[in-house]
């Protein structure tokens, strides 16, 4: 169970966390995602890349049923989390989202204190019995979010008063506070400057120890830096899915190669 720096080496050893089979997504009449099959493994970073509008974010939002909030959106096919179909009528999406946390493109802290931002999830899920336990969860989450040192003296200051990079790390800390098993990140660095991006990427690499991370990104360099497996989406199709090293150095599909070399997208 020890991770080696070169995580790509032990891809095969990891258990499958999420397996998607034959997934179709429709927005009204538009067929946004076509026949996508993906296996997402535990304790590993999986990157979704592809040009704008290719459906990678849509697919990511299927994994914790965030698409349920869009009226016209319809999902078909099987998505299994640990072998359980998350679109089963018996599944409560709220319970699912506690297991599959999400970090959004734009940092979106609640307009509350830093403490309350982190404590909100544990509170509504009843993870802490008392104040001391809650304090502990908050500290642990902020440490995991690599932001504890910066905010420990002002936990009761508003979360919206932090810088963009700090806000995004706060949001990551908030997502891990509910002890999810999978962390979905929808272009988490697109609103950040290079320094903040580097910090977040470092953090993602650390999170891999405990979580299965799925990240959607526009930046191929970022995908190459942080992920062990990469999926390339194009026009709603999953074109290629494999180990990151292989996708970037020796893609099988000509479309992948064109995208990576900058000819499409």
């Amino acid at each position: 169970m020890y991770d080696t720096p070169n995580a790509s080496a032990d891809v095969a050893a990891k258990a499958t966390k999420i397996s998607a089979k034959n997934v179709q997504v429709y927005y009204g009449d538009t067929h946004a995602i076509k026949d996508v099959d993906v296996e997402i493994q535990d304790k590993m970073v999986t990157a979704f890349i592809g040009p704008s509008g290719c459906g990678k974010s849509t697919f990511l939002r299927c994994l914790n049923r965030m698409n349920d909030t869009i009226d016209v959106c319809r999902v078909e096919g099987d998505i299994n989390l640990d072998g359980e179909n998350i679109y089963d009528p018996k599944v409560d999406p709220v319970q699912l989202r506690a297991k599959v946390g999400m970090v959004f493109q734009k940092p979106n802290p609640f307009p509350k204190s830093i403490y309350d931002n982190i404590a909100y999830g544990p509170r509504i899920h009843g993870l802490a019995k008392n104040k001391a336990e809650l304090d502990e969860i908050v500290e642990k989450s902020l440490r995991r979010g690599a932001i504890w040192e910066e905010v420990k003296d002002r936990l009761h200051a508003p979360g919206t008063g932090l810088s963009g990079g700090q806000q995004q790390r706060l949001c990551i800390a908030r997502a891990v506070a509910t002890e999810p098993e999978v962390l979905l990140m929808d272009e988490p660095c697109s609103a950040l400057d290079p320094i903040a991006t580097a910090q977040v990427e470092e953090l993602i690499d650390e999170l891999r120890e405990n979580y299965s991370v799925v990240i959607v990104t526009h930046s191929m360099q970022q995908a190459a830096r942080v992920s062990q497996k990469t999926a390339f989406f194009h026009l709603g199709n999953l074109v290629e899915f494999g180990e990151t090293g292989q996708i970037f150095t020796n893609p099988e599909d000509p479309r992948t190669e064109s995208y990576i070399t900058g000819r499409i997208g």
């Binding site: 009226d71 709220v94 989202r97 734009k106 979106n108 609640f110 307009p111 509350k112 919206t160 506070a177």
Partner: protein, 456 residues
């Protein structure tokens, strides 16, 4: 070097091509554009100036006409409470005292004034005490009687009593009534004013702040000097209580459901359009609806603040729903996503995150809706709250809702209909009080807004 490459002369000739103009000189297009912008600004300033001008005219005229209603003329004389007339049996039994009607008290006041005039040695053509009755309000005996019934021990003594002057005398003191204007008035003569002038000099007649106007009840048509807005203020208060308690929860719940939970389909679209239309429905339509539903069908009491409040609730609901939905819409969707993302249910997301952020907007909308309802008259016409003369302070909270009453705007409307010019002055005074209420509510809205927004 050939001629072709001869250095171009420095100056205007150096600039060539399409943009060969000096930056210091405006070209024709720019000039036109700048002129248009200046013109537009001038129009704007003119529009605002016109608005401010009319606002100032309005306020000045309201204040000038209404301020006199806040002072009232009294004649202060010692009144001898004759035991022989007020308490023939001499046992101060309240039931016996009550048997003496205001007719028994009127001569006491007449005599008191007559005596005061005689004692001061004022010259007057009136020889009988009764002739001076025109100077005092017809309500004065009733007030004296109330005083005696409340203080039976004062009978047989002489008490200093502030007797309410008649509206003509009051008008004379305020400059509204002149000797010329009463030339053909049967109620009062110029001679009365001569006497008043002398009484002013002796200090027996004075104008003081008129608390009774703010706290008192309406009076009959012939006694404007006695009329006050207090009871109708209570009527308005109970109506607003009904409106607040019904329209805020119903309105906010309806908007939250429509905005956050309801599926978007034809039916909800229809509801949405209808709510917008309801906001534009003339308020008298709500009045006739209230008459039909609440009074004729449900048999609720007429003229009751409860019914008025129900009708105004119907009228206020669309305002509150529209403003609440607007402020819910203004909450960024990222907050909802964030809450759902950490595993909050939709309801938790709404109540923990969206609603607190929308609260300032909701509160402002509610208070503005309430202010609108407070100033509404037309629907009250139809449910009988106009035309009822509210002479009694409601007896307890239940009576406050159920016993007939008026409301401030209805009272103002009622006064403005009456013939006596003294009522005209009171109508303006009522408007000042109403405006003060509306201003207070708006200030509260602003303060609440600021306070809630300051929490990041």
């Amino acid at each position: 070097m050939t001629d072709a490459s001869a250095p171009t002369p420095i100056g205007s000739g150096a600039r060539q091509g399409k943009h060969a103009t000096s930056l210091y000189a405006e070209d024709a297009r720019t000039k036109k554009r700048n002129a248009a912008e200046k013109r537009f600004q001038a129009y704007g300033i003119a529009a605002i100036s016109i608005g401010i001008f009319f606002l100032v005219v309005l306020l000045v005229s309201i204040v000038r006409s209404g301020i006199p209603a806040f002072t009232q003329t009294f004649i202060e004389v010692p009144v001898y409470l004759d035991a022989a007339k007020l308490d023939k049996n001499g046992n101060r039994d309240p039931d016996d005292l009550r048997k003496v009607s205001t007719f028994g008290y009127a001569p006491l006041i007449d005599n008191a004034i007559f005596a005061a005039v005689q004692d001061a040695g004022l010259t007057t053509e009136f020889e009988k005490a009764k002739d001076m009755r025109a100077m005092i309000s017809a309500s004065a005996p009733a007030q004296l009687r109330d005083y005696v019934l409340a203080n039976p021990s004062e009978i047989g003594k002489t008490v200093e009593f502030k007797i309410l002057a008649s509206s003509r005398v009051d008008g004379y003191m305020k400059g509204r009534v002149t000797r010329e204007s009463v030339a053909r008035d049967k109620n009062i003569d110029a001679a009365h004013f001569d006497l008043i002038d002398q009484l002013v000099e002796t200090g027996d007649v004075e104008r003081t702040f008129n608390w009774d106007f703010i706290t008192g009840a309406d009076a009959s048509e012939s006694r404007p000097e006695q009329a006050g807005i207090g009871v109708s203020m209570i009527g308005s208060f109970f109506m607003m209580l009904v409106v607040l308690c019904l329209s805020l929860p119903i309105g906010v719940a309806a908007s939250i459901y429509l905005e956050e939970f309801a599926p978007k389909n034809r039916f909800t679209d229809l509801i949405e359009v209808n709510i917008s239309n309801l906001a534009a429905v003339p308020s008298i339509v709500f009045g006739i609806l209230g008459l039909a539903v609440f009074i004729q069908f449900a048999h609720l009491p007429q003229s009751a603040p409860l019914v008025g409040g129900l009708v105004l609730t119907l009228m206020t609901l669309p305002t509150i729903i529209i403003s609440t939905r607007a402020s819910l819409k203004a909450v960024p969707p990222s907050i909802r996503d964030a809450a759902l993302g950490v595993g909050a249910s939709k309801m938790q997301a709404v109540f923990h995150h969206v609603l607190p952020l929308a609260a300032p907007g909701i509160l402002t909308g509610t208070i503005i809706g309430l202010a609108q309802a407070l100033g509404e008259t037309a629907p009250l016409l139809l449910i009988g709250m106009v035309g009822y003369i509210a002479t009694n302070v409601p007896d307890g909270i239940a009576a406050g809702f159920l016993s007939p009453n008026s409301s401030m705007p209805a009272q103002i409307y009622e006064w403005s209909k009456r013939a006596d010019p003294a009522y005209y002055e009171r109508a303006w005074g009522g408007i000042i009080i109403l405006l003060l209420f509306l201003m207070t509510m708006n200030i509260i809205a602003i303060i609440l807004r600021r306070r809630f927004e300051r929490r990041w």
